[in-house]
């Protein structure tokens, strides 16, 4: 019985498997047909408008794909991306008003390499699905560098923080300063704490400045439910 059973089971298994395959096939066909039958597929749309300038879905997808902006974990990438694109456009408008020196070709090439590395193997698909061209990637790289240069020019590469602020930073982030499992004494952690406190202050200053820019701009974000 065993062989028979085994054969039977094998035949059954064959038949079941093919039924599964066929079912899957039909399911995919139905799904595919329904996709086609539902007829329409969104190609692009306006996700936000800043002072009359449109920010499109593909703009957000392209910059996300290149790693120019990153969606925080758990956030809707497009919704979060649209907000970051608004900030980026506000920054670029300021850069345009008080233009920093033009970045040199080598720096742009390095930035392009960084962006394309961020996209990795997905780059051709990204370029196809968002209509991104090499020239646009180059322009995005240029804009990145100009923004960085502008921020350095305006806010300085570092911000001076007082000893008290460094100590305060160390106290509130004590768990971050360890060597092995041991807490690092303040004297030893002081340079790192100073750098981090400085970075944090600079970031906060820039964020506040961008918030202020927003209040002076006409910003409209479209609901993204039906994208």
């Amino acid at each position: 019985m065993k062989p028979c059973n085994a054969k039977f089971k094998m035949q059954n298994a064959h038949a079941g498997s093919w039924r599964i395959v066929l079912c899957l096939h039909f399911a995919f066909c139905i799904l595919h047909c329904s996709t086609i039958a539902s007829a329409q597929q969104l190609l692009d749309r306006i996700v936000a408008r800043l002072d009359g300038n449109a920010i499109t879905l593909t703009d957000v997808q392209a910059t996300l794909g290149l790693g120019v902006i990153q969606a925080p974990a758990g956030a809707d990438p497009i919704e979060s991306g649209a907000q970051q694109m608004i900030d980026r456009q506000l920054l670029l408008a300021e850069v345009q008003r008080f233009a920093p020196p033009e970045p040199d070709a080598a720096a742009i090439a390095r930035e392009i390499a960084r962006l394309t590395m961020n996209a990795g193997a997905r780059l051709p698909a990204l370029m196809q699905s968002t209509g991104l061209s090499d020239a646009q990637i180059r322009e995005i790289a240029r804009q990145d560098l100009r923004i960085l240069s502008y921020l350095d020019q305006r806010f300085g590469p570092t911000v001076q923080v007082s000893d008290e602020e460094v100590a305060q930073y160390y106290r509130t982030h004590e768990a971050d300063f360890t060597r092995g499992a041991e807490p690092m004494p303040f004297d030893e952690a002081e340079p790192i704490a100073r750098q981090r406190a400085s970075d944090e202050r600079r970031r906060a200053t820039i964020e506040q400045w961008i918030r202020d820019l927003r209040t002076r701009a006409e910003v409209a974000v479209n609901p993204i439910a039906n994208r």
Binding site: I20, L43, D44, G52, T56, T58
Partner: protein
């Protein structure tokens, strides 16, 4: 074994299924994405707005995706960007649908429903007008829907300040269609209003009655604005009484049973100001120490006052003057005491400049505004040093040192202790080496060649080096690049000194950045105006650089059309692309314009008096009015029609006796009436046949009262004008006119032959003119030049009854003198010359026989006349002329030659008034060949101009410097009064 085999086969099957599953997934993904993939042909493009198909060519013209083209996401995004630029859509969604042999595209346009009003509903608690004012003051009458939450927060604060602690405000946007609009509805439940339960007063006993008789008190509704207004009033009262540091504020705390208001009034000390030390004139005290005017005694104000007192004395030669202040507080009385030690006054004894060899004393003198006998002012010396340094820098002396010195001269033995001290001012110049430009290098330029760039340079090898020239060169490069669309160009000049500072090698490093091109030009807001009419004026074109100059030029040209109230040109960026859409937003002006007005003209005219009809000068007022109606932008192509009418109430002829009594029977039809009028109808066709020329067709009906005759003219005219540059224009004109003379004041013997033969004359003439105009204001220029050359040719061959050639040139120049007050020197020169073509005329005389006359004069309407408010102001209207152009009875006949020269000084006074003094000269000559500058008749005078919105109103009195006999036994007037509108020239 079999089981094992089965299990192996089963495993293989599972793997196969997995592989197949993956393949199917991949296949499905590919099927899904293949439609997304670019390259499929577009078979249909549909544009919908809220379910309706859109056929607007403006919208469809902005789509980059077209039937038959391969689908490109980039084109789709471009289309969205263009459509977004219209500012009509809050969202544009593009869908694709599979279709046979390709894809169908559907654009869904979601229109912007702009909020056009705010509605307040529910239990408002406060007057709606208060809420509306609070909302619109900050957000405008039509706020964006996205700011609803901010409006709610702002209104909540308003409610809280008025005692409503917990208002409920819910915003809602109600959308309406056709047209697409929205209302912002604010549903409000104000909740209960807090009553004042208690007022706690933290003030001196004398200030506790601050709310007496104001209605503010326990049991009344709390209203922060009312309380604050009363406290402010009280504070102002205290400050007015000398308590300049008084403060009155309040806070509120809400509790279950009402609001507790806590008022704090701190009077501060009573403040008085005292001066000690050297005296400060009473008249200047309040100006220099404005404590009373400001109602404040804060430290900044006191420091400023101290500095102002010191400056006051420094400017008067007390260079060591010091003013300090102190606060002395005793028993609630604060005395602010300014102690002044002005020291001695210093007077300049002599000024010397030494060490200058490369620059002459003559060139330096204008910089040094110090002279012997002046009081010594340090700031004047500093300005002189700065000026000299600038002169040297401009000539290449980059290391020039200018050292001022002030040497105190010994006082006389018997000099009083406070006597003036004399100083010697020296300016020692150490010129240093002169720096010449060595080499000029240019790098980083790809767009322009070195030769092109060098052509713009004023910095060239061998010339003196100047920072200013280098900065100018940098600005020029920058502008040229920006005009080519390189908006991010950076030009960095660097100068390296060499050879001991005698050579400056200059390098310009150019970083060009990307070129920005115009993608689409999108024109919106033109409902009546043809888009082509706008496009014709634009110098920004698709595919061309987005240049700075082109943008300015486009804006100016559109504004100059006169069709729009507002023209706004904005650039719309394409994400990460150096291309921009240019959005031209226009707001059209009303097509019909109506204007009207009235006024009073006063001038001196010649009138016939007595039985012999001799001329006498009389000042006359003439009311006048005008009405104009125009229709612009006909058929959307900037064509226009205009009808202008003007009439003056004037006596056609007044005949007075020697004693000034009007004759009982004046000439038939004479007397007051609208005897002077002008009707002017114009049709304008701009850019005719796509040329730069504007064509004007004009019909004129004109009747004028002149000194020697009256005339009526009917004329039609065609004129083509070209504006060559901003300041140059030319025009060609043909006119056909018929003129009738009447009411001639001449006796038959005096009347010119041509007027006797042709009391009615038909003229057909060609004219041309060239104008150069750089005036800054047409009505009341302060600088610039106006030059106009006109010439006319009339000939029998083209239908004229008489032939002539006539030229008239006028040059006006306006120059603002470099003085503090606005002083304009205006000068004018006008010269006219004409020559009539001879014509033989046969006529029947009184005796009935035929006579043959040869006439070579110009008809009266074409001859030159001068004298009056716009020419030579010491004479009445048309009075000027040599003996041959004045009839024995004193009336001018006009002539073929004219010269008028004017010079006028216009000095701005106060409140729109300008004082004027002038010198005029001019004359009329019978022939062009008789023109003699030695025969000009002079006049001078003065007057007052008032700057009104329609131009200066002039009242001027002219003096005839050499009066001659007007008519037998009568001299010309010595003074002539003019009242009129507009400048003389």
């Amino acid at each position: 074994m079999t089981t094992d085999k089965f299990e192996v086969q089963s495993e293989k099957l599972k793997v196969s299924i997995k592989v197949l599953f993956c393949l199917l997934c991949t296949l499905h993904f590919e099927l899904c994405t293949c439609a997304y993939a670019q390259g499929l042909l577009i078979t249909d493009v549909r544009v919908e707005q809220e379910g309706q198909i859109v056929t607007d060519p403006l919208v469809l013209g902005l789509l980059e995706t077209a039937v038959g083209m391969p689908l490109s996401i980039r084109d789709v995004r471009e289309s969205i960007t263009h459509l977004s630029a219209l500012n009509r859509y809050e969202d544009v969604q593009v869908y694709q649908e599979p279709a046979a042999n390709g894809v169908r595209l559907r654009y869904a346009l979601l229109p912007v429903h702009a909020v056009d009003h705010i509605e307040f509903r529910g239990m408002l608690g406060l007057p709606e007008s208060d809420l509306r004012e609070a909302a619109t003051a900050r957000f405008g009458p039509a706020p964006p829907a996205g700011r609803a939450e901010e409006i709610v927060r702002a209104l909540a604060l308003v409610y809280r300040d008025r005692g409503y602690v917990r208002p409920r405000i819910t915003p809602r946007i109600v959308v309406t269609h056709n047209p697409d609009r929205a209302s912002m509805v604010l549903e409000i439940d104000s909740g209960p209003r807090a009553l004042i339960r208690q007022i706690e007063n933290d003030a001196q006993p004398g200030d506790r009655a601050v709310f007496a008789n104001t209605g503010i008190g326990a049991g009344q509704p709390y209203d922060a604005a009312v309380i604050q207004a009363q406290l402010q009033k009280y504070e102002t009262m205290l400050r007015g009484r000398g308590f300049y540091e008084a403060r009155a504020t309040h806070t509120v705390g809400y509790a279950a049973n009402g609001a507790v208001v806590r008022v704090t009034i701190d009077r501060g000390p009573h403040v008085s100001v005292a001066f000690s030390g050297d005296p400060l004139p009473d008249a200047d005290r309040d100006r220099l120490v404005p404590i009373r005017a400001e109602g404040s005694a804060d430290e900044d104000l006191l420091e400023d006052s101290s500095r102002a007192i010191e400056d006051y004395f420094h400017d008067r030669g007390y260079r060591d003057a010091m003013a300090t202040y102190s606060r002395e507080e005793t028993g609630g009385e604060l005395t602010i005491r300014f102690t002044i030690a002005r020291g001695q006054r210093y007077v300049v004894d002599r000024v010397s400049i030494a060490g200058h060899t490369a620059v002459s004393t003559v060139d330096l003198a204008p910089m040094v505004r110090i002279k012997s006998g002046d009081v010594f002012v340090q700031s004047t010396l500093d300005a002189a040093v700065g000026g000299i340094r600038g002169v040297y820098r401009g000539r290449g002396f980059t290391r020039a040192m200018i050292a001022p010195g002030v040497g105190l001269l010994p006082a006389g033995e018997r000099a009083a202790p406070n006597a003036d001290r004399h100083v010697q001012v020296t300016i020692d110049i150490s010129e240093g080496p002169r720096t010449l430009v060595g080499t000029v290098g240019i790098s980083g330029n790809r767009v322009f060649t070195d030769e092109q760039i060098r052509a713009w340079l004023t910095v060239v090898p061998g010339r003196p080096y100047s920072d200013i020239d280098v900065a100018s060169a940098r600005d020029r490069f920058d502008l040229e690049y920006r005009n080519r669309g390189y908006e991010n160009v950076v030009v960095e000049p660097r100068a390296a000194l060499a050879e001991g500072g005698t050579r400056a090698n200059i390098a310009f490093a150019i970083s060009e950045g990307p070129q920005v091109l115009v993608d689409h030009v999108i024109i919106v807001g033109n409902h009546r105006t043809n888009t082509k009419t706008i496009e014709r004026e634009l110098t920004l074109r698709p595919g061309e650089p987005l240049g700075y100059a082109a943008r300015i030029e486009s804006q100016q040209r559109l504004s100059a059309l006169g069709l729009f109230r507002r023209v706004n040109i904005t650039e719309l960026r394409h994400e990460s692309e150096p291309r921009r859409d240019v959005l031209i937003q226009v707001e059209e002006a009303p097509p019909t314009t109506i204007s009207y007005g009235g006024g009073l003209e006063g001038g001196t005219r010649l009138r016939p008096i007595g039985p012999n009809g001799q001329a006498e000068e009389h000042f006359e007022f003439a009311p006048r009015g005008f009405f104009e109606i125009g229709r612009n932008n006909l058929w959307g192509k900037n064509r226009s029609v205009d009808l202008f009418t003007r009439a003056s109430l004037k006596a056609r002829d007044i005949v007075l006796t020697d004693t000034g009594v009007r004759l009982a029977t004046p000439a038939a039809g004479s007397g007051y009436g609208f005897n002077e009028y002008r009707v002017f109808g114009t049709y304008r066709e701009p850019k005719v046949f796509n040329t730069p020329a504007d064509v004007l067709l004009t019909g004129i009906l004109d009747q004028a009262i002149r000194s020697s005759f009256n005339f009526q003219t009917r004329e039609v005219r065609a004129e083509a004008g070209w504006r060559l540059t901003r300041s140059y224009s030319i025009a060609g004109r043909y006119s056909f006119q018929h003129t009738t003379l009447f009411d001639q004041r001449f006796t038959p013997d005096e009347e010119p032959l041509i007027d006797r033969i042709f009391p009615q004359v038909r003229l057909s003439k060609f004219s041309n003119s060239m104008i150069h105009d750089t005036r800054d204001d047409l009505l009341d220029p302060t600088r610039g030049t106006f030059l106009a050359l006109n010439s006319d040719v009339a000939a029998r061959a083209i239908g004229s009854e008489v032939g002539f050639v006539k030229t008239f040139a006028q040059l006006f120049d306006y120059y603002r003198l470099p003085v503090a007050r606005r002083v304009i020197l205006a000068t004018a020169a006008r010269i006219g010359a004409a020559h009539g073509f001879p014509r033989t005329v046969r006529r029947v005389n009184a005796a009935g026989s035929v006579e043959t006359d040869v006439v070579q004069d110009l008809p009266a309407s074409e001859r030159f006349f001068a004298g009056g408010d716009t020419t030579v102001r010491g004479f009445s209207l048309d009075r000027l002329g040599t003996a041959k152009t004045i009839s024995p009875s004193g009336f001018p006949t006009g002539g073929n030659g004219e010269v008028v020269l004017n010079a006028e000084l216009r000095v701005a006074a106060v409140k729109g008034l300008t004082g004027v003094t002038f010198v005029d000269a001019g004359n009329i000559f019978p022939r062009a060949s008789d023109l003699r500058f030695t025969d000009l008749r002079p006049a001078a005078g003065f007057g007052v101009h008032y700057k009104s919105p329609v131009g200066p109103i002039r009242v001027e009195l002219g003096f005839n410097l050499h009066p001659r006999e007007l008519a037998p036994g009568t001299l010309e007037r010595r003074t002539v009064l003019h009242i009129s509108l507009g400048q003389a020239f």
